[in-house]
Amino acid sequence: MSQQARLCREIIEEEFGPFVAKVAHQILLKGRLTLPDIVRFTKLTPKQIRESLVVLIQHGLAFFTEAVEGQKEQTHYQVSAEQTLMRLRMPAIMQVAEERWEEIGVDICRLLFIHGRMKIGGVRDWVKGDSKRKDKMDQYIKAFTKMANEHYIIAVLPEHSRSAVDRYLEAEQKESEKYTITTAKEIQAIKKSALESVEAEYGMLENAGLKRKAIDAISSAHKRMAVEIEDMEVDEKIYFHINYERFNILFRNNSVMDYAIERINRTAGQIVKAFFEHGKNKIRSLHENDSPSATPMHIANIIPQDVIDQGDIVLQPDLINPGKKPSVQDIITGYITLLKIDSAGFVRSRDELGSSQYSINFLKLRENMKRKLLEGLVREKMGVATCRILRILIEKGKLDESQVQKLAMLPPKDTREKLALLNLRGFVEIQANRLDVNEVPRTADRAPGRSFHLWYVPLEKIYEELLVDVYRTVANLQQRRRQELKVRSRLLEKLNRQDVKENIDLLGEGDKAEITQMDKVLERIEISKKRLDQMIMILRDF
């Protein structure tokens, strides 16, 4: 069974219950389904299925396509696996919200996760209804507006619920109606213009839901301030939901910073952070290969003075005046050079944009982080020597067994064993080549006696398999959690009683010990899931 579908099912079951999970699972396994199809496959009642679909669409996990006017088609539904898997990251997102906007941010995020999407009026009502927080109303509104301005939450438009592929196909259809006979070139032109029109619709959403504050044009001082602040108000009628991409960008930046700190030193991490601060407003997508470029001057402006004064970089002393402390400019340039030289490839110079422009090189970083993950895994599972063999093969390409043995400095018997182990686990593969080639052979005959074999590492394939493995592990953890809860069902029933909820001391000592044990177990499972989620982030999202 598809591991991704299984994991999505577990996630949904934990939050929304078994019915929604069953419906989502069937749609994920079978692609698009109509309502009668879902009835047939899940054997639930139509009413339950309709309610489940409403829940899924409300949370942005499912899309639908309705029939075009006049054609008698049924509405098809499909579930988005990516959106479902993002929900795994919810605790991390809430923690980021706490760091930036404290408890208020956490509350807003939680509301958005529970309801899927909300208007700012909905937040207002919730705050009003909650007695402990009534007086902080304007803080909530301010936080919401700030989050919307920084694109951490983003507007939802009706088009979002309808699947993107169908929109694209519709646009293509519309365009092709203009032509009667279509040549190959025209078909290409149609496709291109359809794609552009869909993206134009879609791409306008960056500032959707926000409108400029109505300023009084009479008072000029006020006007100046408003232009400077450039904060926009939230439109009351628009629904907002969490923008996972923005949070992912944040996670990625933090990850790169930690990597820099680990490899070089703390100040290098600060420099990387300054790069990100500088380009903060221009980073839009996670898939960009470079960060917005910056010069050492920009970095120097952003970094606080005490970081520079730490003096943990040793630079070439000034030839004229050996006692002079290096200037800010020199220190920063020194660090940038260090980051550039480092084999992880943090920074690269962008000469095409001008002199001394540097940017963080995400392309190389992505590869390096994935590789580091892979090597760590192999080292833990199969030992240092095996990991060494793997690294040799990755760096050198395709090698013969004797070459591997020489480079790895291991006895031949060991290399053969370890290569076989790696092959068994799917980390290396063999390529068979004919021995007697002077001219192009006419047959693809590769008898073992007449051919030589080379070992190599299929990196992309390994990363994909690894991702599926991680999905399986997280789904297993979730299953384990369900099992632990099932085994303790009597205890849970006791906890759900009304009198126990009010006074926990009604339970005996043994019961209380069991409760702490259960909490510990659940915590451990959840934390393992979170650590695996970080692996998923590196493998899939960065």
């Binding site: 409403v54 915590e523 934390i527």
Partner: protein, 222 residues
């Protein structure tokens, strides 16, 4: 004897909670160590080799706070309208603990959530929109196939009758979506089948009767 044995079973399962796995329920770990063979079962087979399972690192502070957030969220979402639960079981015998199990917080239903109806397709709008409750067309108890009175009335009242019937049909049509209609149609067909069986299937007894009568009538001539 057997009663004691069964009591032992039940006690083993329910008592210590999650500490025991399925196979080891009857035997505690202390007993296992005492037995000289190293356990009742041979745990070291080819499929399950003895492994040195690594222990994960202890959680740091940010991880524990994330766990708290998740716990909080799960509690709230289980109480929300979005967590669909199976319908409550039918009331059984009355139990003492029932009075403590009442759920005092009433869940919101899906009709009460605040959302834009434009986000949802036609067929799902009835779930969220309380104004669009589908009225199931009343199951007609009257025999559908042959109702002389209706036809007589329809002809007699002329325009008025037609208008009334037209309105009723219109309401039925609007109340259902395409799929509802299909379901209703299927049900009607099934119902029709039964009527067909009732109305047109003769066992053959009636025929004999008729024949006899015919013969009797014809016989009179003889």
């Amino acid at each position: 004897m057997s009663r004691g044995g069964r009591g032992g079973f039940g006690g083993g399962r329910g008592g210590p909670g999650g500490a025991n796995s399925g196979a080891m329920q009857l035997v505690s770990f202390d007993m296992l160590k005492d037995l000289s063979s190293g356990g009742l079962f041979n745990v070291n087979t080819a499929l399950f080799p003895e492994m040195d399972v690594p222990i994960p690192r202890k959680p740091n502070s940010s991880e524990t706070s994330q766990w708290k957030f998740k716990e909080d969220f799960l509690k709230q979402v289980h109480e929300s309208a979005y967590h669909l639960v199976p319908p409550p079981p039918k009331p059984d015998i009355e139990r003492y603990s029932d009075k403590y199990k009442k759920a005092t917080v009433r869940r919101k239903t899906l009709r009460e959530i605040d959302t834009d109806f434009d986000f949802f397709p036609e067929e799902l709008q009835s779930v969220i929109d309380s104004s669009k409750i589908k009225k199931k067309p009343k199951v007609q108890k009257v025999d559908e196939t042959f109702n002389l009175d209706e036809i007589m009335n329809a002809e007699g009242e002329g325009k008025d009758g037609e208008d009334e019937e037209g309105k009723e049909e219109g309401k039925d049509g609007e109340a259902g979506s395409d799929i509802e209609f299909d379901e209703e149609g299927e049900e009607e067909e099934l119902v029709d089948d039964n009527d067909y069986a009732q109305n047109y299937f003769d066992n053959g007894e009636d025929e004999d009767f008729d024949d006899d009568d015919g013969d009797g009538g014809a016989g009179d001539y003889y």
